[in-house]
C-alpha cells in the first residue's frame, strides 16, 4: 500500500492504540485496491470475510428487501465499515457499493479477529468504536421515529451547515437521491420538502443550498444533541 496512507490509517481511533506489531501484521495481510464508481463491494447475507477501510472516495451502505432499497449510511475517508460483522464472524447486514471511484483497504476478517484476540489495546479500541456506532444508529432511529420527513431534512441541513463552517450556505455532500434515501424518503418527496422549507429561508440551486434564516429553520428543526450531534 502507498506509504503515505499508512499514517492516516494508523491514526484512526480504531488502530492508534494497538501495538506496532499487531498493526504491522494487519497491514501485511491487507490489500489496497482502487475500485470504480458504483461497484458493489459486499452483499448483505454474505459471510464477513473482510474489514473495509475507505482511504479515498466514498462508499454507500445500503440494504434491500422485497424490491425496495434504502441507503443506510455513506462512509467517507478515512473510516472503517462493517466492523461488527467481522468481529462476530457473522454475515453482513448491509450491502456496500462505491459511490465514486474509491481507494479501499481490505483486511481479512481472520486477521482482525486474531489481532482482537491478541492485542488488548485493540480490543478496547473496538469497544469504543462499536459503542460509537451503536449510539449513532440509536440516534438515527430516534430521528426516524420521532420526526417527520421535513423535520429530518431541516435538521440535516443544519448539520451540514455546521460541518461546513456555519456559513449559511452548504454544498450537499451527496446527490439528492442518496440524501433522500438516507433521510428515509423518496426523491420526489425530498424536492417537496425543500419547497416546504422555502418559507424558512431555504433555497436550492443544484447542490448548493442557502440557509437564509437560520433562526427560523432552527425553530422548526429543534435540533437536539441527543439526536443530531456527532460527538459522544
Amino acid at each position: 500500500m502507498r506509504s503515505s496512507d499508512l499514517p492516516t490509517v494508523r491514526q484512526l481511533g480504531l488502530f492508534q492504540s494497538m501495538a506496532d506489531s499487531s498493526f504491522e501484521k494487519l497491514v501485511q495481510a491487507a490489500y489496497l485496491q482502487t475500485f470504480p464508481a458504483q461497484l458493489e463491494l459486499i452483499t448483505e447475507g454474505d459471510p464477513a470475510d473482510f474489514l473495509y477501510v475507505v482511504i479515498d472516495g466514498s462508499v454507500e451502505l445500503f440494504t434491500r428487501w422485497n424490491d425496495r432499497e434504502s441507503t443506510m449510511a455513506i462512509v467517507r475517508p478515512v473510516s472503517t465499515f462493517i466492523l461488527a460483522a467481522v468481529i462476530k464472524d457473522a454475515v453482513y447486514l448491509m450491502s456496500a457499493r462505491t459511490a465514486r471511484k474509491s481507494r479501499i483497504l481490505i483486511i481479512p476478517s481472520e486477521n482482525v479477529r486474531e489481532a482482537f484476540a491478541e492485542d488488548d489495546a485493540f480490543a478496547r479500541a473496538i469497544v469504543v468504536e462499536l459503542a460509537s456506532c451503536y449510539r449513532t444508529v440509536v440516534k438515527e432511529q430516534k430521528d426516524l421515529k420521532l420526526r417527520t420527513a421535513v423535520e429530518r431534512l431541516a435538521n440535516r441541513l443544519l448539520r451540514y451547515d455546521h460541518e461546513q463552517g456555519s456559513q449559511g450556505r452548504i454544498e450537499l455532500p451527496y446527490d439528492k437521491r442518496a440524501i433522500a434515501s438516507l433521510i428515509g424518503m423518496t426523491p420526489e418527496n425530498l424536492s417537496r420538502a425543500f419547497n416546504t422549507l422555502k418559507p424558512y429561508g431555504v433555497s436550492v440551486d443544484g447542490a448548493v443550498v442557502t440557509l437564509g434564516d437560520i433562526d427560523a429553520l432552527t425553530r422548526l428543526a429543534k435540533p437536539n444533541r441527543l439526536i443530531d450531534h456527532d460527538a459522544t
Copy 2:
C-alpha cells in the same frame, strides 16, 4: 443482593468470562433494588452514572422529542441496558422506566469502566455485547425503512410465534400501546393493522392472537434473517 440471583447474572454473556475478582468487585459496588411499575429510572440526557441489569420484571426504553414519545425497546430479564453510554462515559440517549414492578441491579459506571480497563476478558465480552446490540439496531432500522406498518406487524407476530414455540397462537408480551410504539405506529393504527391481517388468518382476542394461516402470513411478511432473526 439475593444469593440466588448471582449465578444468573454471572452467566450473562457480558459477565461470564471475566475474572472472579473483577466480578466480585462489580457486585460489591452494586445495588439491588426493587422498583414499582411505571417508575422512571433514567432520563435521556443525564450522565450515565450506572449500568442496569434487569433481574426480574421488565423495563421500557423510550425517548422523547418535541412532545412526541417513542418506545425504543423493552428489556426483559436477565439482561443489561445502556452499556454503550456507560462505556463512553456519556449521557444516556434513551430514558427508561419500569413496565412493571421490577428487581434491578445497579452498578456504578466507574466500577464498570474500571473492570473494563483492568480485565481483558471483560473488555472482549463487551465487544461482543456491543456488536450484538449494534446489529440489532441496524436490523430495526432496516425494518423501519423498508417495510410498511402492516408488514412490520406481520413479521413481529411471526417472531413472537417462533419465540413462543410456533403453536400458531401467541400471547402478546406487552400491552398494545407499547407494541404499537415499538413497531413505529399509533395504537389506532395497530388496531387497523390487525384488521388488515384478518384475511391472512390473524384473529385477536385481547392479548391472545391466533395465527390461523401461517403460510399466508409468511407470504405477506416475507421474514428475513437479515432483519428479523435474533441470532448473530
